[in-house]
């Protein structure tokens, strides 16, 4: 069995972030949340109306 090396990883160095970067991040975080809200509105519109029947009737034969 070949030996395994411990992998060196370089996690993001949080101590170097300055204030503007943090502000930008929280702004983009808010934008992400707004995007998700829009997306959830859309999902509410297009999601199959009778979820239980839909899920039950989704029966596939095995394949391959």
């Amino acid at each position: 069995m070949a030996e395994r090396e411990q992998i060196k990883k370089s996690p993001a160095r949080r101590d170097e972030e300055d204030v503007s970067e943090v502000a930008a991040k929280s702004e983009s975080g808010e934008k992400l949340k707004a995007d998700l809200d829009d997306l959830l509105d859309e999902i509410d519109d297009v999601l199959e109306t009778n979820a239980e029947d839909f899920v039950k009737s989704y029966i596939q034969k095995g394949g391959e």
Binding site: M1, A2, E3, R4, E5, I7, K9, P11, A12, D35, L36, L39, L40, E42, I43, V46, L47, E48, A51, E52, F54, V55, S57, Y58, I59, Q60, K61, G62, G63, E64
Partner: protein, 504 residues
């Protein structure tokens, strides 16, 4: 040197008919494919039936482990009576068991396979539209690009890789098993709940993959029951002295283009590394099947997997180590085997980005990894509607993520990054890749459809009038490209002229 990693993907689609209770999946699949083929430009100009698939070299029962007695495994049956068409882009579109299935044409690299996988989705979308015209009003055929009905029935998305016959099969098993288990962290399409008997929503509310739970063996010939992580079907569809086609059945169908790209790209690199004898550290798992389920059930990505030597590694650690070895390999051997510098570097960069993202904050790769993208929708929905994991709306959302109808697809709304051009993908529905033998197949179908009697992966049979039928073999997957035969096809007015020029 490693051989060019020519690849293809076969996708079986889930199918439903709405608006009637009187339907069966085989006839619905046939209707769908016939409706599409009848509408495809170019391929059917003066014939009433699609160009048939030629079954002459189909031997799905051939086992790569030639030491096994033939009675050891039951060969899969070939269904020769169902709809089976060849498309002008070099793809195969057919009914397999109770599903429509599309096999992409042979592609030269991971980016090309993403283009033809997207083209296959567009073909499925066109097919649903054409089928609607053939059905009574109010009825609709719906296709899902997924791998499970969440009730224990699974259907596959199979990858195929061209390998050097001289690479011992044992090396493939040792090298690929750990990769297939650990790559699930970025290839998984996500699934609500578990299909294992006795495993409730409390234990597994959500998991990384659709397929993992359907695997029960480490190595074997089966694809429909007792599925193995390494499938031994030995059917090269090419010169069997030189080549092997590794038939990989463990993958999920991906809606994310980046996930498809990495699923195929990282595997191409691994196989090229094995051929160049450049894998220094094999990650041999103590119990690969158990580990496959463990990885799929572990949303933290931190669970240690037991290794054969008594140690442990997480799936992330295995992938980071394979990436490190891949970089060493590429520095030494270059990236020609996986399609050249541009595509090869893109695989390595994307691989590192996705692993780093999964390690630090999985939500950061919601635009690239399907199970993360789907989980983001589900978590948002749960919070908004305050529902628990047993709520059927979550299961509906899970299924509908894979709905291929643009008006209903949740994946299409999930903000997934695209890496191929949609206009090019539309053309790729009809035009073959230019850099594999699929080019010859596709162009012959486009230009000489009325002379093509049948075709398959490694030959085409032509009717040249009074003479006997002529079979043109295509046993070299990297030949028959635009460069090799493009001008010959352009300059030939008739099939006889072309065959004369080819010396066939």
């Amino acid at each position: 040197m490693a051989l060019p990693k020519i690849v293809g993907i076969e996708t079986e689609l889930g199918i439903m008919v709405r608006g009637t209770t009187e339907w069966n999946p085989v006839s619905a699949s046939s209707l769908l494919i016939n409706a599409y083929v009848g509408s495809e430009p170019g391929g059917l100009d003066d014939r009433s039936t699609p160009i048939a698939w030629d079954f002459i070299d189909e031997t799905p029962g051939a086992d790569a482990r030639d030491f096994l007695p033939p009675e050891f495994a039951l060969p899969p049956e070939i269904e020769t009576h169902l709809v089976n068409a060849v498309l002008t882009n070099g793809a195969r579109y057919y009914v397999d068991h109770a599903h429509p299935e599309i096999s992409t044409p042979e592609c030269r690299d991971a980016l090309s396979i993403v283009l033809y996988d997207r083209a296959a989705e567009l073909i499925a979308i066109d097919s649903m539209e054409q089928a609607a015209n053939a059905l009574p009003p109010g009825q609709e055929v719906i296709l899902y690009k997924d791998n499970s009905d969440r009730k224990g029935n699974s259907y596959g998305t199979h990858e195929n890789y061209l390998l050097d016959r001289s690479l011992p099969f044992g090396q493939i098993i040792n090298g690929a098993t750990g990769h297939f288990v650990s790559r699930q962290i970025f290839t998984g399409s996500g699934k609500v709940g578990s299909e294992l008997p006795g495993v409730g929503a409390n234990h597994v509310p959500y998991q990384l993959t659709q397929r993992a739970e359907h695997f029960e063996e480490e190595v074997g010939l089966e694809t429909t029951l007792k599925r193995p992580i390494i499938n031994t079907r030995d059917e090269p569809h090419a010169d069997s002295q030189r080549y092997r086609r590794l038939h990989v059945i463990v993958g999920d169908a991906n809606m994310s283009q980046v996930a498809t790209f990495l699923k195929v790209g990282t595997s191409c690199i691994l196989f090229a590394m094995l051929e160049d004898q450049s894998v220094e550290r094999f990650h041999l798992l103590d119990d690969p099947v158990h580990a496959m389920h463990q990885v799929s059930h572990d949303l933290t990505l931190r669970q240690p997997l037991k290794l054969e030597d008594g140690g442990t590694m997480t799936a992330l650690e295995m992938q980071f180590d394979l990436l490190a070895q891949a970089k060493e390999w590429s520095a030494r051997y270059g990236l020609d085997a996986v399609g050249g510098e541009t595509v090869g570097e893109m695989i390595l960069e994307r691989w590192e980005q996705v692993l780093t993202g999964l390690e630090s904050d999985p939500d950061s790769v919601a635009g690239q990894v399907d199970w993360v993208a789907k989980k983001r929708l589900i978590d948002g929905f749960r919070e908004r509607h305050d529902c628990d994991w047993g709520d059927s709306r979550l299961r509906a959302l899970d299924l509908q993520y894979h709905d291929l109808r643009p008006t209903k697809s949740l994946a299409a709304r999930a903000g997934l990054e695209t890496i191929v051009d949609e206009t090019e993908a539309k053309s790729a529905r009809h035009d073959p890749p230019t850099d594999t033998r699929a080019y010859f197949r596709g162009r012959c179908l486009q230009k000489f459809a009325s002379s093509v009697v049948a075709a398959n992966w490694d030959s085409i049979v032509f009717d040249v009038g009074d003479d006997p039928l002529r079979r043109v073999p295509m046993l070299e997957p990297a030949r028959g490209t635009l460069e090799h035969v493009g001008s010959l096809i352009d300059e030939s007015e008739t099939i006889v002229e072309l065959l004369d020029k080819l010396g066939a």
